[in-house]
Assembly symmetry: C2
Homo-oligomer: 446 residues x 2
């Protein structure tokens, strides 16, 4: 077989394999992907030596023949430092000027990473949001992505360059600089991966990926090789801090495959992808999460008549207070109790709003409990595997843990318990569902 023919064969085979699963390309084929978008967070580029380390990591992927777009956050605590400077000047700096200021952070890291790559002998170029064609609306400090004009990026890629792009920022149609808000650099990377039809978006961070539980609480917690977008969204919404919900939603909508991995280790990371790619290997439960940031409010003896719930939650919505779980008791003697949870930071405001509403409705009163925790089980396998809820309640009961509220979705069950029992609950659930063991498949006994 000639070298050319072999290459053709190799590429065809890779093409087939890429369609299936990235992490299964046999390395003896020198398996490469066409285009990868990589994103490095602030701690990954905190100083010159870490930037050089990132450059070596990028270079080694480029060496395998993959085209690369690299998105960077601002160095270490640069963004906080810039905000501090702004606050020395003004107690409420204008959002437009704040964006103008903050956007410099990523431009510094993009230029430095590009220099580091060039120093290693690799062709690299940094592009800021304007140069990269990242267009947003004009809602400064929390702008929405509108479109990415990839002309310049594609031109640089075609010239064989590694394209380093500033995360977190965009430009309006008037060329004003915007920023995308919290987790903005992840969003930049995923949006670029979508616009460029990249094969993969690698998010490098300071954790190794998504675990079956927080390893600080469950030392046996296992790194998940794969997780579906829906499961990741539920895990993020119920307390996992790996990725912002907004970025994962964007990835799901545009079918961008995400590999979350550590900048500081060689661990394989977690692939976040569509359920179709996870297929039959899907476990029943992917993980146990918890959240101690909420508080519970209970309104006692509300008259049980139409429009009451609308009145209560309408008033909270008008005050911009997000409500998470809601439970309404079965009516007794014409009245009922309504319980719900809010972010603890909103608790005082929520109480104030409700006092008026209670008076108006003739409810008996409001009870507040800020010492609660929410523990959740997340797993796409729940849909087809009944009995998970019962097993969860039993595991908690075995530990003498009382359940105060329950809420379910098709792939999640959450229980509100006492805050002091959260670690015990997470450990018990992780054990009860054997999450430390690999290869628990749907259909097998647990």
């Amino acid at each position: 077989m000639t070298q050319q023919a072999f290459n053709f064969f190799k590429q065809s085979l890779q093409g087939l394999l890429i369609g299936l699963k990235v992490d299964k390309i046999p390395s003896y084929l020198g398996g490469t992907l066409g285009l990868i978008v990589q994103k490095f967070g602030g701690t990954s580029v905190a100083n010159a030596s870490r930037i050089k380390q990132v450059a070596r990591k990028v270079a080694s992927v480029f060496d395998s023949g993959t085209k690369l777009v690299v998105v960077v956050s601002a160095l270490g605590d640069t963004t906080d430092r810039l905000i501090e400077m702004a606050h020395q000047i003004s107690s409420s700096p204008s959002p437009r000027e704040l964006d103008m200021l903050l956007a410099t952070g990523e431009q510094v890291s993009a230029a430095l990473l590009s220099m580091a790559l060039q120093t290693l002998g690799y062709p690299a170029i940094s592009l800021n949001a304007l140069q990269a064609g990242i267009k947003t609306d004009n809602v400064h400090t929390k702008a929405k992505l509108l479109e990415i004009d990839t002309e310049r990026i594609n031109r640089e890629l075609k010239e064989g360059k590694i394209v380093v792009i500033t995360g977190f920022q965009g430009v309006t149609d008037a060329d004003d600089i915007t920023t995308l808000g919290r987790g903005g650099s992840d969003l930049t990377a995923i949006a670029l991966a979508a616009a460029l039809k990249a094969d993969l978006c690698e998010i490098y961070t300071d954790v190794e990926g998504v675990f079956t539980a927080d390893p600080r609480i469950v030392p046996q917690a296992r790194l998940l090789k794969k997780i579906s977008y829906e499961e990741m969204l539920e895990m993020a919404a119920t307390g996992a801090r790996v990725m912002q919900t907004r970025a994962v939603e964007y990835a799901r909508n545009f079918k961008v495959r995400i590999l979350v991995k550590s900048s500081f280790s060689e661990s394989g990371g977690t692939l976040i992808t569509g359920e179709e790619e996870i297929g039959v290997e899907r476990p029943i439960i992917s993980g146990v999460t918890f959240d101690v940031s909420e508080a519970k409010l209970t309104i006692r003896e509300v008259p049980d008549r139409p429009g009451v719930a609308a009145k209560i939650f309408g008033a909270l919505a008008q005050a911009q207070i997000n409500v998470d779980m809601i439970i309404q008791n079965i009516s007794q003697a014409g009245t009922t109790d309504i319980s719900f949870t809010v972010e603890r930071t909103d608790l005082r405001r929520a109480e104030a709003v409700l006092k008026e509403v209670c008076l108006e409705l003739g409810a008996k009163g409001i009870e507040v409990d800020s010492e609660i925790a929410k523990v959740s089980l997340v797993g796409a396998g729940m849909r087809t595997h009944p009995g998970v809820a019962a097993q969860m309640f039993k595991a908690l009961a075995d530990q003498n843990i009382n359940i105060e509220m329950i809420s379910t979705s098709t792939i999640k069950i959450s229980c509100v318990i006492k805050a002091s029992e959260v670690n015990k609950a997470v450990q018990a659930l992780h054990r009860a569902f054997n999450l430390a063991l690999e290869d628990i498949k749907e259909g097998e006994e647990v």
Copy 2:
């Protein structure tokens, strides 16, 4: 007289006066200029409290009804700090990436000054080079200005805003960021003043203006109220450090009136303008300057035949070595001596180049003197006032100072002397020409 009619009268009168001299608009008319471009250097915006101070200064001018464009440099030592970061990554960072990095410095100060103005209740907006339409060629780190598309700036001015613009930088036609090299922010301000047809360009710096001599050497040195572009160029070329030659040349070519003044005092500063505006008040001598950064080379007994000088200075030019003064002795016995000065930092390289040339030409040898100084008298009045040179040589002779080389232009006389005698020479010349006294006019005796 109605208010409207009065305003019209006032504006007409101001218009007339603006055509003549800015600093003579009677303040009882509330004299204002249509548009001023102000530039604040790095020390003027070194920290939050200085930025607030600059904002108050800008605001007070805006209060008088003047439209304002404000150009800022990077905060304090930011540029040096960024260069240091680049050098931690690479010993020779690519010019394009260096520009991308350095340009963030001015964006930070523009955003912060804009916030400071807004906090004082003034409408302000910061624009970076792209937004301000500052177009350059693509010679990174020392780009040349090509044009300024003032559409956006004019739009913001029309909306009544103070427009704060990043100095030192521009963009290529591919939207790549460039920087203009040393003194670039002055150039930005002057170019903006030219493009916007501003009435005045105020350069705020850490000195009070242009003095008749360096006040550290001549305590009696007097601040010049006015100086012509040509004189300023000669003063800059002979050692005055107030403004870069390049910026003054640009101002002369586009007839931009510059007022150099201190950010830290209320002194009136020095107006740099065309000779026609200085008119009959022109002094014979504007100032005494000195330069101790040069060294002298002498080639002994060069054969005196055509092409010799071309050979010597051609070789130096090829090595990118700038030659300042050149003296060729009267020929004796078919040979001559040639002396010239170069920047001391180029001395070793110049010697190396010349050694080869001497061998080729059969010259006797090279002598080097790095302990020299150049003292210069600059004054447009010299053109019409003979005898200045003789008076200068006498003043130096009276102090027993030997003159080693002499060079003249129509408005300047320079003498090379021993470096150790430079202070004595500057003081003697300042005294001999009575420069401490005001109002020495052309035609009067000195």
